[in-house]
């Protein structure tokens, strides 16, 4: 028998069977719709989280690493980090001299300080002491005014470059440039406003829009460095040169800090890579659990389909008997029921996908940037189809194996 003919006939029977029980079909598909929406939203959310995370750390830069006293992600005992020697401004100068021509070193130091303009106060603002090299190393630029100059650093000028968020909150409607801003107990003159970065403060990432940059020399004079460690941002000429430079810097910093060869490093190299790696391993588990739980809802939907397919087979026992008596082979009956369950599930998958698009748009609008990617849509439909085949298989096999005599006698 020609396969195409069997397929068309079976597809026709399957469709008319679904259409004959529209409400039942819709309710059965609902289970699949919910399952698909849950799974797709989980995947979309995971994607969105990762993108947001990446974006919120994008100011870190891919060709930059940081030499700090402590790693960003601490593993093992807290005490091994606690007694380390502080990282100081001298270290920054020494390192810059040693790797001159290979990389640019920019020291930064930060503290939370309340900030005040007129009578408006803003708390938990991160005040960052840095140098003019910041604009080169971190690839940030000003929206208004200018960044600090080498002179500002050298002469410990009381100048500040503020984040876009600070401008919105403290200088709403007024021009911030050349206005006075009080940071802690010292007055600064605003010389620039940074470009908005967005996506800040997500998952503990830095909210660069809520930062104020002042010359590191001014910072030291005003707030001291004893309790605060200088971070050394090192920028490589290219992303490819990053690893080589990293080894070189490790060696140089060991020498600067006077470590003997047998001693372990008493400082940490922090990179976007290590941050992303740590994020991925953590989020991987979370997403896996999420998919497992949402997968259960899809599984329950599949069980619902299987249940209805058993009902459908029982209801149509006599029809199966007639078809077998007049010569329907097993595969034709099998196909008829497999197609019926597949149609229900794929229809559920398509509707679920459409609902997911709406849910994703809502997430994108209210929670975080998110988008439904083509691979996710494809996987969702494939999963729906597989669910359909699997939940239809046992009922379809039951139907195919029916004895025509018993089936014809069935009332």
């Amino acid at each position: 028998m020609k396969w195409a003919l069997v397929l068309t006939e079976s597809a026709g029977i399957a469709l008319s069977a679904i259409l004959a029980n529209r409400v039942r079909g819709a309710l059965t598909a609902l289970g699949i719709i919910i399952g698909i929406v849950a799974v797709v939203t989980t995947m979309t959310a995971a994607n969105g989280l990762q993108n947001t995370f990446r974006k919120s750390f994008s100011s870190v830069g891919a060709d930059v690493f940081y030499v700090s006293r402590q790693p960003w992600i601490q593993q093992g005992s807290f005490f091994q980090f606690r007694n380390r020697e502080p990282m100081e401004m001298d270290d920054a100068d020494a390192l810059q001299q040693r790797i001159a021509g290979y990389g640019v070193v920019n020291p930064t130091i930060n503290l939370p300080r309340p900030v005040k303009v007129g009578s408006t106060t803003m708390s938990d603002v991160i005040v960052v002491g840095t140098t003019d090299r910041m604009s080169y190393v971190s690839d940030v630029s000003t929206d208004l005014g200018r960044f600090m100059s080498p002179f500002d650093v050298r002469f410990k000028n009381n100048v500040a470059v503020i984040g876009s968020n600070i401008r919105e909150q403290l200088f709403a409607g007024t021009m911030p440039i050349n206005n006075s801003i009080r940071i802690g107990r010292k007055d600064f003159r605003v010389i620039g406003v940074m470009e908005e970065q967005g996506g800040g403060g997500f998952l503990g990432g830095p909210n660069v829009d809520r930062q104020i940059y002042i010359p590191i020399s001014t910072f030291e004079a005003a707030y001291g460095t004893t309790n605060n460690n200088v971070d050394l941002a090192v920028k490589a000429p290219s992303q490819e040169a990053l690893l080589d430079l990293e080894y070189r810097v490790i060696g140089e910093v060991r020498r600067i800090r006077g470590l003997r060869p047998s001693e372990p490093d008493d400082f940490a190299i922090n990179k976007l890579d290590s941050l992303m790696g740590s994020y991925n391993s953590t989020m991987g588990v979370v997403v896996l659990i999420g998919l497992l739980i949402t997968g259960i809802s899809l599984f329950v939907g599949g069980v619902g389909v299987m249940n209805i397919m058993f009902v459908s087979v029982t209801e149509r026992t006599r029809e199966i008997g007639i078809r077998k008596a007049i010569g329907a082979p097993k595969r034709s009956i099998l196909l008829q029921f497999l197609l019926e369950s597949s149609f229900i599930c794929v229809a559920g998958g398509v509707i679920g996908l459409l609902v997911s698009v709406i849910v994703t748009m809502a997430i994108d609008h209210f929670v975080m940037p998110a988008g439904l990617s083509f691979p996710i849509a494809f996987i969702a439909l494939l999963v729906a189809l597989i669910t359909g085949v699997f939940s239809g298989l046992i009922p379809a096999m039951k139907a195919a194996k029916l004895d025509p005599i018993d089936a014809l006698r069935y009332e």
Binding site: K2, L5, V6, S16, A20, R318, I322, A325, G327, P329
Partner: protein
Amino acid sequence: MTDAPTNAKSGQPALSLRDVVKTYVMGDQELRALRGVSLDVYSNEYIAIMGPSGSGKSTLMNVIGCLDTPTSGSYLLEGQPVERMTDDELAAIRNRRIGFVFQTFNLIARANIWHNVELPLIYAGIDKNERRARALHALERVGLGDRLDHRPNELSGGQRQRVAIARALVTEPSIILADEPTGNLDSVTGDEILTMFDELHAAGQTIVLVTHEDDVAAHAHRTIRLRDGQIESDTVVDPALAPDRISP
């Protein structure tokens, strides 16, 4: 017990059963529905199988119709042994060689009668245009060529049975197996159906009919009576209807 008919056509029988035994196991009991039935049916014979309930006539019908296989014994359908065939091979044999007419019509309710009649041709792998033409021809033969789009529940019992006959005829089967075809019909409609069988027989069709009514059996030229799973008698009722007496 009388002798087997002497007026049967010579040559190979259309179907030939030898010592067919069918045993059902129900729990720890063995039910012997057929206890050694031997029977030859020649082309263009019109045979009635009769017997009280429990005599094994339904089982014999199922075996002849290839819906069931004998426990032992042999069954040749047009020279082909079917007793060891797989389910799908049996399905193919039913599809091509046997036309069923049931007491309860057994049409597919959701499909129109055209589709009901073309259904066996779909399983035979016939392409659409030929299917349509042959289904139309079969429906015209039973006088329903103008009702193609009706569904079975829009037709009377007699009309439904005629659709079933059209479905049985459409594959041009070796035999038509009719199981109490008038059992669910009033006597006038029943007579119409039986007249139709007479016409088919006159046109050369081999028919095996199962009934418990004598006046239905009277339409056949040969009557086989079963009792307790064995052939009790095999009689030529009306030699005038025997196949070799019919002018072509």
